[in-house]
Assembly symmetry: C2
Homo-oligomer: 164 residues x 2
């Protein structure tokens, strides 16, 4: 299942994800977080390292160790969330995205008290995370990590049920 | 096709790959380099960055920008070259590995003048790169990048022919 955590910059999306992942993992879920790097480009490695050199030379790169594998590939603008999920993420129980508002996936909206929810009204809104209540939505405070994780677990469970 | 560049540490494998990739790319090949990080673990990102935080929280991570996509996943010892190639690298014309001697793939062996070729005698040896000739093998000097790239192109072409 894909679930997006959307909201304005600095509303607390990263922290929320960072805190709920361990709780969800304890429940046996295999989770991947997809982050969109919107402004400019990201560096995956330090200048001068072998993997950086290989990428700069024009090749895509895979690095493996005994513990993890990293893959870095050239992709285009149109390389969207659905393609990524289909090609690479089918083995995960839960794909959490940070951002990807326009992809219109089911979502949790994280807001600062003065933010307007309007532009995040795409897809199904499971809950809003905000320090004040938002009318029409189940609202959690930022630090209700356990409760939010439980909401996701229930949603995941009901989604699986409806697939059978 | 998978081709390994093997040899002792500091024999010049990285530089060779870095120099031949642009030549091979000019010939229209889509290339990925697979590197085995043998000693300890590698860091794919800087401590404190969002993607680092997500990984540390227990999730695997995908980062996308308009130009590239990086994926970092937990894998085990037994996550071997064949699995990586089959699952993720089937769209490439050429998979170049740095190292992976024991995988036994077709290879170019890069040697310092005093190195013994014996332990790299697995799989088919296309050529040896060394500053002195090695008996029984077509030997190139380290900076014969064009010639080595051409050898790979010919090998790739003949492999494709034999598949039809």
């Amino acid at each position: 299942m894909i679930l997006s955590v959307v909201g304005s910059p600095d509303s607390g999306k990263t922290t929320l994800i960072e805190k709920i992942v361990p709780i969800l993992k304890k429940n046996g879920l295999k989770i991947v977080v997809v982050k969109h790097h919107a402004h400019g480009d990201f560096e995956f490695d330090r200048k001068g390292k072998d993997s950086w050199k290989f990428y700069e030379s024009g090749a895509d790169v895979v690095i493996t160790s005994d513990k993890k594998t990293a893959m870095i590939k050239r992709t285009r603008n149109e390389y969207n969330l659905d393609i990524i999920c289909k090609k690479y993420l089918s083995s995960y129980d839960l794909v959490l995205t940070e951002g990807f508002n326009r992809a219109g996936k089911d979502r949790i909206v994280v807001l600062n008290p003065d933010d307007d929810i309007e532009r995040f009204k795409k897809g199904k809104i499971l809950a809003v995370v905000c320090e004040k209540d938002v009318e029409g939505y189940k609202t959690y405070r930022h630090e209700q990590y356990e409760e939010i994780a439980n909401l996701i677990l229930r949603f995941l469970s009901s989604s699986l049920d409806s697939n059978f």
